[in-house]
């Protein structure tokens, strides 16, 4: 059995300009239908990566697809599992308990309502009291990066970023690249030392 580490998308904070294009295309690619213009969107945008903007740093944060995924380990209904080297949420099973949110060290997990044809999907039984009286409560589900599973072009965020700030990291490849760089560095310094 070959050992393959899960890939993940990570942003370069030195390149990111904070334009949120990644969030927009992420949300659009995960809609229940194809939307090309803003006017065709009739529900809130629900991206699976989240721009962080503080005085010190600007970059989106998204799921690391951890090998020992805390979110999956704590999920009481086994709604989170690893499929084909990706940590994925099964929205149909998720009960919205938020344990995964608590467990994720990156804050990469969100809890959001689901929409179909512009209408929020309601729970079958549970109701809630509001100003308008007792109404059905919307279904809230765990929402996080799925690496655009099934999308031929790969993750939408990487493709759309105008600053080329996002990259799909294949950990072993990245490691080998760094090994080579370190070796070359070492060779250079040895040369210097010898001369």
């Amino acid at each position: 059995m070959s050992i393959k580490l899960n890939s993940f998308v990570v942003a370069d904070p030195h390149k990111c300009i904070g334009c949120k294009v990644c969030e927009v295309v992420c949300a659009v690619e995960h809609l229940d239908r194809e939307c090309k213009t803003v006017g065709t969107i009739d529900a809130p945008l629900l991206p699976k990566l989240f721009l962080v903007k503080t005085p010190k740093v600007t970059m989106p944060i998204q799921c690391r697809h951890c090998e020992d995924a805390p979110c999956a380990n704590v999920c009481p209904v086994a709604a989170i599992s690893e499929v084909d080297n990706k940590i994925l949420v099964d929205e149909k099973i998720c009960v919205g308990c938020k344990t995964c949110m608590m467990a994720c060290p990156f804050g990469a997990m969100d809890l959001v309502p689901r929409y179909q044809d512009g209408q929020v999907i309601m729970q079958e039984v549970l109701t809630t009291e509001t100003e308008d009286g007792v109404v059905q409560k919307e279904a809230m589900v765990a929402n996080k990066c799925d690496l655009c599973v099934g999308r031929v072009e790969g993750p939408a965020c990487i493709q759309a970023c105008p600053a080329q700030a996002l990259e799909l990291i294949a950990p072993h490849k990245e490691k080998r690249k760094r090994n080579v760089a370190a070796a070359l560095n070492l060779m250079d310094s040895v040369k210097k030392f010898m001369s």
Binding site: G18, V21, K36, G39, Q159, A160
Partner: protein
Amino acid sequence: MIEIDQELCTGCRRCNEVCPVDAIEGLQGAPQQINHDKCVNCGQCVQICSVYASAFDEDISPREEKIQERGLLTTVKEPLFAAYYQGQARGAQQMLSDSNVYTMVQCAPAVRMAIGEEFGMLLGSLTPGKLAAALRKLGFDRIYDTNFAADLAIMEEGSELIERVTTNGVLPMFTSCCPAWVKFVEQQYPELIPHLSSCKSPQQMAGAMFKTYGAKVDGVAATKVCSVAVMPCTCKQFEAKRSEMADSGQRDVDLVLTTRELAYLIKAAGIDFTTLREEGFDKPMGTYTGAGNIFGATGGVMEAAVRTGYELITKEAIPDVNLECIRGGEGVRRTSVTVGDLELKLVVVAGLKHVIPLLEAVKAGKADFHFMEVMTCPLGCISGGGQPKILWPGQREHAVTSRKESIYEHDRNLKVRKSHENPEIKKIYKNFLGEPLGHESHHLLHTTYQARR
């Protein structure tokens, strides 16, 4: 009229990259401001802005407040972005529910090859029939067309060019149908104002005709007429509000909607645009030619003017009505057309930033051309700031080229393709205006400009 929401803007400054006049000011990473003295309201910033208001951000004011602030219909569900245009859709909705007003609407050429996109149709879908049907369903009393007024503009502007060329008038002449370009000349190159054609834009010609000729045709008082323009443009509202634009005795155009805003109104009225049966525009001012229609793409005004100018001067039919040499892309296109004894030298500029070297040449007396068309937006009105906003940055180019293909397809398929052959144009000169550049035309269809510095 173009604003940047200070709560939302992250200071990515992508808007600054597309602003043709450097009107967007601010530090990288900090909310940007618009310098309204420089801004020409082209709305390219509105098109590119991708910083949206998250539904879960508790640090920003609620969506309802933003909807109010932006003058949007409360029924609008789409996400809100930092750079926005303050429209007039609410006013239009109110006006349509007022039974005391007589409403006349006009649609710019580029609206009919883009509005379908807002209802999930393919990018660049050509839908003039559905557009007319939707406007009728919304309750407009007369469904007229800016394309008709574009034909009228050609009659006037073509005649003006001929007059300038033959009487040693101020040359080169500049087109005047793009209000952002006109504002730019007024504020940055006021000394070149005499080069601007005195013709109003088709929107304003239509407005002036609605409240005079149109009111007369329908036997209604001009004071009862409310004239609405649907435009791909975020600067047309500014143009309609100019003090000069009241030659009919009233405001020539009362309200301006963008393509996006018309889509809001259609959705709010519960009209299913995609399944509408095609209908026609109303006579007399809804009758148009292919020449009027191509105004929506860069080079279109020039091509339409040459189709007519050639025949008016030589009294012969133009050898080929398709003037491919004029149809350019973003940037500067130079070409020439032989008309009788004259070699007419033409320049077409798409994208306002490309015009500056040419204006400097004109200023220095080194201009070697007769006529220059300038459109502020990258490929003309089809890429206007009021057009449907494309979600994927990579699809923007495809959208604009598809709209362009549709505009020329529509031109090819129209029976009449030269403005001077439009039967209703012939009639309007015979019955109402007299002749191009005549007394009535001069009063209703021509205008003056103001130095803004």
